[in-house]
């Protein structure tokens, strides 16, 4: 069904289906181009317009996935493919599966809420909303693209709005933070391009189609090299230590709505792409790199948590906590088990919601106190008990309190790595032990944050903006839109797990199938021969998961 390479250049795929994904993707972008034409002196109608578009697109996603998507099917669905720039072999091919579908929904929810959170933006509002909507489209594109070049274009398209959104609407150090962000991510994305081209031009057929790339057989050295390149590219985004240093600057300098998107959606692109490309396309190399990913994950958890504890700036602390939480995703991805990989997806969705709510609430606090330095605050609970209640709920979710989504994500990842039969027991013990130390560190820095900001008596001299007072209905709405799914997933995880379960099971099966052959190979470095062990697997027929119907 896919248009592969240059062979079918002019055969436009005539689909009897309505192009749902294209509509979802392009709606915000098209709507954004109209914004300059809207006559509005008071920006009131612009913000309603932008928010309306966001919600409408989200509703469209929900409708599409509810009615047109089959949860029991692990292959790509709602596929569309049109040749776009035939000379480059670039196809407009979109599709979703259990991996991308929850993340597309997450994008819709968080971006819409971020636009609602940015209600008070008065500086260049038109440009702001144009960029937000453009970014909305690009994010959906990253998760839905099934063509390597299209993926890369979407990846890049999303960088420019983020850069501008930080550098125009950011804090005092915004230029530095934005430049650092763009240099990191742009430099890293070169690796995507090079890796993508290398894979595309390898072998007899030249294709950018991801499914076809996944079916190619690459030599070992080549696969390792491409894997390493992609790991750097996505590692910047996730972020993985030591490529994380753009993140605290970008998060703390960006305004709260942008931080919501940065933490809620952008970081997930890294995790998503790691599963989509590194595991699915390069499973052999993944077996080699998996122990490294686990170790990096543990480093992320401990290092992020300790660095977070030392921060005095509220948003920087939350930023480092994101680094720590994404460490769990790495461990889950590299666990070689169904539970672990499923847990990684759940952790991404859950962290998206939790981090967005915490960054949003930090913005709500900042609007009233005009400082992010926690030592200068104190006793805020008396003036704004509702914000206090919501902040407490968000922090509890972040420290993996049962009954909230974060717990389910981390528990399943722990179960995944514990039950994994691919690792040496000693290695597993060390990893689980250290990752669990993160569970002790998380409440230390999050509860200290609550204590410093909200508890005690307000004797710091900071006057809360009288006219703002406690949380407004709009702010309550945003926070509850994020907290309700967090609690729903925590109470009954199946609401989330069933959306991706068949897909993550398929991914796990795929990597487990290559595991014995790779592990059995001779001449491996001593690190791997001690860490990785070959599980006893029934020889399953090798089937490619990306194969189209």
């Amino acid at each position: 069904m896919y248009v592969v390479g240059n062979k079918y250049l002019f055969s436009v795929m005539l689909s009897t289906q309505f192009p749902w994904l294209t509509t979802i993707l392009l709606l915000p972008l098209v709507a954004a181009s109209v914004i300059p034409l809207i006559p509005d002196q008071h920006i009131k109608s612009i913000r309603w317009y932008a928010f309306g578009v966001g919600i409408a697109d989200f509703a469209l996603m929900v409708y599409t996935f509810w009615c047109k998507y089959d949860l029991q099917n692990s292959t790509l669905q709602l596929a569309e493919s049109y040749p776009w720039v035939p000379q480059l072999g670039l196809n407009w091919s979109l599709a979703v599966d259990g991996l991308s579908m929850p993340l597309v929904l997450l994008t819709g929810l968080i971006t819409s809420l971020a636009m609602l959170a940015a209600w008070n933006v008065t500086n260049k509002p038109r440009l702001f909303y144009v960029l937000m909507l453009a970014m909305y489209s690009a994010q959906i594109g990253v998760f839905a693209a099934q063509d390597m070049l299209l993926f890369f274009l979407m990846w890049e398209l999303e960088l420019v709005p983020v850069y501008l959104l930080i550098s125009i609407w950011g804090g005092q150090n915004r230029r530095y933070a934005a430049t650092k962000f763009i240099l990191y991510t742009a430099a890293a994305s070169i690796f995507i391009l090079v890796g993508g081209f290398a894979m595309a031009f390898y072998g007899d057929t030249v294709t950018f189609d991801m499914a076809s790339l996944g079916m190619k057989q690459y030599p070992k050295g080549f696969e390792m090299l491409v894997y390493a390149g992609l790991l750097i590219a996505f590692g910047v985004k996730l972020p993985i230590f030591p490529l994380h240093t753009w993140l605290p600057d970008a998060h703390s300098e960006a305004s709260a709505p942008i931080s919501m998107i940065l933490a809620g959606v952008l970081l997930k692109m890294g995790g998503y792409a790691l599963i989509r490309m590194n595991i699915e396309m390069l499973p052999n190399a993944h077996v080699y790199f998996a122990p490294v990913l686990v170790i990096l994950g543990v480093v992320n958890i401990i290092y992020g948590a300790l660095a977070a504890f030392a921060q005095t700036n509220l948003k920087r602390r939350l930023a480092y906590s994101s680094i720590a939480h994404m460490g769990f995703v790495l461990i889950g991805i590299a666990s070689f088990t169904e539970i672990g990989i499923g847990g990684a997806v759940l952790q991404m969705v859950s962290h998206g919601l939790i981090a967005a709510s915490l960054f949003f609430l930090s913005g709500v606090t900042y609007e009233r106190t005009h400082t992010l330095i926690m030592e200068k605050m104190g006793g805020m609970a008396q003036q704004m008990p509702k914000v206090f209640a919501l902040f407490t709920a968000g922090s509890m979710a972040s420290l993996a309190l049962p009954g909230m989504s974060g717990f389910v994500g981390e528990l399943t990842i722990f179960l995944g790595i514990t039950t994994s039969d691919a690792y040496n027991p000693t290695f597993k013990v060390v990893v689980v032990l250290l990752a669990a130390v993160g569970l002790i560190l998380t409440p230390i820095y999050l509860l200290s944050m609550l204590r410093q900001v909200f508890y005690g008596v307000n004797n710091s001299g900071i006057v809360i903006e009288g006219y703002l007072g406690d949380a407004k209905p709009r702010e309550m709405f945003i926070a509850s839109c994020l907290l309700v799914p967090i609690i729903a997933i925590g109470f009954y995880p199946k609401v989330a797990t069933q959306t991706y379960d068949v897909k993550t099971v398929a991914v796990a099966t795929q990597v487990r199938n290559v595991l014995p052959t790779v592990v059995a190979q001779q001449g491996r470095s001593p690190l791997y021969s001690t860490v990785l062990i070959a599980p006893h697997l029934a020889p399953a027929e090798s089937r490619s998961l990306l194969a189209s119907k």
Partner: protein, 695 residues
């Protein structure tokens, strides 16, 4: 009878509904909800009352011999992995349900009086209801993961309730300390769960125990590993039940309102650790080394708590250390294999300790009328004395509690404690000796507390003592130990009072003498006095109904009956007589020192100054932990941040792209000309495509 089992899920759900509705009301219609104070309270209390009724019905049905009932539903799944949640009702669960619901019900009634003037009245009921729900969910858990879930949830409720008066920095510190210390225990529990799951592939208690036994016997798992897993699981109870070395959070948790101290930090949540050991008995029983660790930890904690309680002047802190000590007894009982005695003590302790705490709340409530809302005065026993004259019902119920905890027959504590000591003597004389000595100390410090609070003459109006206490407080402030903030007790949460200074006489001290508490507070005290006196009679060695109902999963009823038949009356009289004897010595000493004044305690303290200091400073645990963990972690975190800033970030900034695209290129980007950047990327794409196209 079957129907009540099908609806048993309502027991934890009903209080949850109450908490959620009241909580939503507080968030959405704050002022209206706060104005409807007692309507909210009645709503919450009646929901819990319904749960209590259902629990009693279940207990009755279990006593009648109904088979255990379990119902689950799939909660999470990934591939072949399935995790079920649900509820199970057996003897142990039914007993715990009744203990939790009755104590919670009475505490809720009491709260109406204690928190009557607090602006957080409604919020307090919402938290109480949430806690009851979590605690009930914990006891009905059919598997270890669900226990862990509710285990953490009760911890969160404890955090919220200890920090209930959020304008007190000391409360904020205590709440955080409680949560973090408990997380250390949960860390062990989680690792234990993971390890046991890895080994046995199950989360069910019985299945886990059986498989672990088989695995150890067949040699698939080394004995050492089994010991490690069991001890890791035991770390959970160590934190939750405030056992050495993680006991430090419980005394600080007394910053919470007193009804909370009674419900959470005396009767129910802290006993959850003992409950978990009971639930995990199939595992622990097969690992004798772990049982020894449990027994010795319990015994040491019992002794530690008692020795610290001797020197406490804060009535609530004294009771808190007494709780630690009594929990030590229960844990020790579990460790020596005295399963039903441990749970029996859990039950009797729940009632008499809840009553003692509620009594102390009543005393504080009365004292606040004289000294104002200042915990450092209202809770200090040096300010009290002679209160029996002013609050007779509180005094009598407190005395009953003291007699019960000291093990004077026929009060409840005697039967349970005596059974533990008897079994300890048979199991290990060292443990018995520690428990026996602790029993004497317990009687001493409890009666020290009773005499200096309720007997003698009232000292609340003696300005000299007051100044002495305040200056000690001021010194702590000057030394930086305490922040100089006005303290607010129940009834002083009005924001206008934030401006109130504490110069001169407290404006809330409106009376010369304390008064008896309102009926909502006194009635629960009287109702709790009944089980404190009589509940022990279900477990007398002559007719041990309790043991016939609660016995270890590995034993059968016939074995229990056989054991009961071996009862030796002479042996019982010797054991009971000696433990009553040491209690009476303790009481006599206390009366000589604090009632008749024949012995001067200050002189003794001066003679054994190092020991006195050790007890007064709580064996220096807080100081050591502060130095080793709190300060150490802060230093480590700072170092990590420095490394992050200087090394990681610095390296990338220097060797990275900042130098690569130096000068002109950087200026372009810093001017915000992102189009230029986009151009570079698209140019690069195009260039590469052409390059590849050509070759």
């Amino acid at each position: 009878m079957e129907e009540i089992y099908q609806y048993a899920w309502l027991i934890p759900v009903l209080p949850l509904v109450g908490a959620m509705l009241v909580g939503l009301g507080l968030i959405s219609w704050n002022q209206v909800t706060n104005r409807l104070r007692q309507i909210n309270a009645v709503f919450v209390v009646s929901l819990l009352g319904a749960a209590m009724f259902l629990s009693c019905a279940l207990l009755w049905s279990q006593i009648q011999g109904h088979a255990p009932y379990t119902r689950t539903l799939e909660w999470a799944a990934a591939g072949n992995f399935h995790l079920n949640m649900g509820y199970t009702i057996d003897h142990l669960t039914a007993l715990m349900l009744v203990i939790v619901t009755t104590v919670a019900f009475l505490v809720m009634v009491y709260t109406d009086g204690y928190m009557a003037h607090d602006p957080g009245y409604v919020r307090f009921y919402a938290y109480l209801s949430l806690f009851s729900s979590s605690m009930l969910g914990l006891v009905v858990s059919p598997n270890l993961v669900q226990i862990y879930i509710f285990w953490e949830l009760v911890g969160m409720c404890s955090y919220l309730l200890v920090g209930f008066w959020y304008d007190r920095p000391s409360a904020a510190d205590a709440a955080q300390k409680a949560f973090v210390v408990n997380r250390v225990g949960d860390f062990g529990l989680l690792l234990g769960i993971l390890g046991l799951y890895w080994a046995t592939g199950s989360f069910e208690f019985g299945e886990m125990g059986d498989r672990l036994q088989d695995l150890v016997q067949s040699g698939s798992i080394s004995n050492f590993l089994a010991i490690v897993f069991a001890i890791l699981v035991f770390l959970g109870p160590v934190a939750k039940s405030a056992q050495f070395p993680l006991h430090v959070w419980l005394p600080d948790a007394m910053e919470g309102p007193t009804p909370i101290s009674a419900l959470i930090h005396a009767a129910t949540m802290v006993a959850a650790g003992v409950f978990l050991i009971a639930r995990m008995y199939p595992i622990f029983e097969g690992v004798p080394a772990a049982m020894n660790v449990i027994a010795y930890t319990g015994a040491f904690t019992a002794f530690l708590g008692a020795t610290i309680a001797i020197t406490q002047n804060d009535i609530k802190k004294g009771l808190a250390y007494s709780t630690i000590s009594q929990l030590g007894y229960m844990v020790m009982a579990m460790g020596i294999g005295s399963y039903s005695a441990g749970l029996f003590h859990l039950m009797t302790h729940a009632y008499f300790k809840a009553m003692l705490f509620l009594g102390s709340g009543s005393v504080i409530h009365g004292m606040e009328a004289v000294v104002g809302h200042d915990p450092s005065l209202a809770q200090d026993m040096r300010m009290m004395g002679g209160l029996r004259k002013y609050m007779p019902i509180t005094a009598i119920t407190f005395l009953i509690g003291c007699l019960a905890i000291s093990g004077i027959p026929p009060f409840a504590g005697f039967w349970s404690k005596d059974e533990i000591l008897g079994n300890a003597f048979a199991a290990n004389p060292v443990l018995w000796a520690v428990g026996y000595l602790t029993a004497g100390i317990t009687a001493f410090y409890m009666f020290r507390m009773y005499f200096s609070t309720f007997e003698g003459k009232f000292r609340g109006n003696e300005t000299e003592i007051r100044h002495q206490l305040k200056s000690a407080d001021a010194m702590a402030v000057a030394a930086g130990f305490k922040e100089p903030v006005p303290a607010f007790g129940p009834g002083a949460m009005d924001t206008r009072e934030l401006a109130a200074t504490h110069a001169g006489h407290d404006p809330h001290a409106h009376s010369e003498y304390p008064h008896e508490s309102p009926w909502t507070m006194v009635l629960p005290l009287m109702l709790l006095a009944v089980p404190s006196m009589l509940v022990g009679l279900v477990g007398t060695p002559y007719a041990n109904y309790f043991e016939e109902f609660i016995f270890p999963p590995s034993e059968t009823l016939a074995e229990v009956a056989q054991k009961a038949a071996e009862f030796n009356q002479t042996e019982f009289f010797v054991m009971a007589g000696s433990s009553v004897g040491i209690s009476l010595i303790g009481i006599t000493l206390a009366s000589l020192m604090y009632l008749q004044g024949k012995i001067n305690p200050a002189a003794i303290a001066a003679k054994i100054k190092p020991l006195y200091e050790l007890s007064l400073n709580k064996w220096y645990f807080d100081d050591i932990y502060d130095l080793a963990f709190v300060k150490g972690l802060r230093r480590l975190a700072r170092q990590v941040m420095e490394v992050d800033f200087r090394v990681v970030d610095g390296a990338v900034n220097l060797t990275g792209f900042f130098t690569l695209i130096s000068g002109e290129g950087l200026k372009y980007l810093e001017n915000g000309r992102a189009q230029f950047y986009a151009l570079i990327v698209f140019g690069a794409v195009l260039g590469l495509v052409i390059l590849f196209g050509v070759t």
